[in-house]
Subunit: 131 residues, 2 copies
DNA sequence: CGGTATCCGGTTGGATACTG
DNA sequence: CAGTATCCAACCGGATACCG
């Protein structure tokens, strides 16, 4: 389950490994759309067009790519209903649902601290301009 | 501090906003090196060359970019010591330190669940190959 | 030591148009 | 409705070389 150091998987050293667990997960979370889709699906299954409506600006191609990636990672299921017009539902798997916790932690941090971050940016940019 | 819906900042709707807090933070966390650097700095301040040693494969240019971004966001401080040879220390700010919690939550999720993710990937890829 | 300058290939995200 | 196909521009991360 771990790469090598069985007794200290918590150590940051793991993170250096390119094939490291954190890297894999952090990449998904940092994906422009992935964690957004996951959080939209938190409330329940949605069809493709509903997802498009929720994630307003995403193009069908990109949305498909994201959903395929999430499906591949076992985070969402894709259910095709044999009917016309076609209907495809996307739903979080149990595994995907366990990601909601860490994700919302991050969301809460963001909501509480982003003001400070943006203020810091302004200050930094101002300081640069004066040079 | 929030964008508009004061009574329900927790709702996912916020996340749609391109200027949404979560988007800003998720982008940082998802950055290939940023959250890695933050976690390396958790143990204490490090100089540039020490960071390079810890984050083995990163090139100086990229490491500089990451550090500048983190500094701009008020997550790390950059301290230059006027001496020869030059010495520059990077250290987490109080704000940056508060990010360690959510980040390690994510790390723990990764360590516990990445095996399932990778297994799902293999299964998915196998299924594709058979088509 | 702690960077910067220049160049570059690969990936990402998107616009547009078309299909089962 | 739920995608796919094609093309494309921008950005990212990196290799290499050089500088204060």
């Amino acid at each position: 389950m771990d790469t090598k150091a069985a007794g200290r998987v918590d150590f940051v050293g793991d993170v250096m490994d390119p094939a490291c667990p954190s890297r894999v997960v952090f990449a998904r979370v940092g994906d422009k759309w992935a964690s957004l889709v996951i959080q939209v699906l938190a409330e329940g299954p949605l069809r493709f067009s509903e997802l498009r409506a929720h994630v307003q600006v995403v193009t069908p191609k990109v949305l498909t790519q994201v959903l395929r990636a999430l499906e591949r990672d076992g985070l969402v299921t894709r259910t095709v209903f044999a009917q016309v017009p076609p209907r495809v539902d996307y739903e979080l798997t149990p595994l995907g649902r366990t990601l909601l916790g860490p994700l919302s932690e991050l969301r809460h941090w963001a909501e509480h601290n982003v003001a400070a971050m943006l203020a810091a940016r302004d200050a930094y940019d101002d300081a640069q301009d004066r040079l």
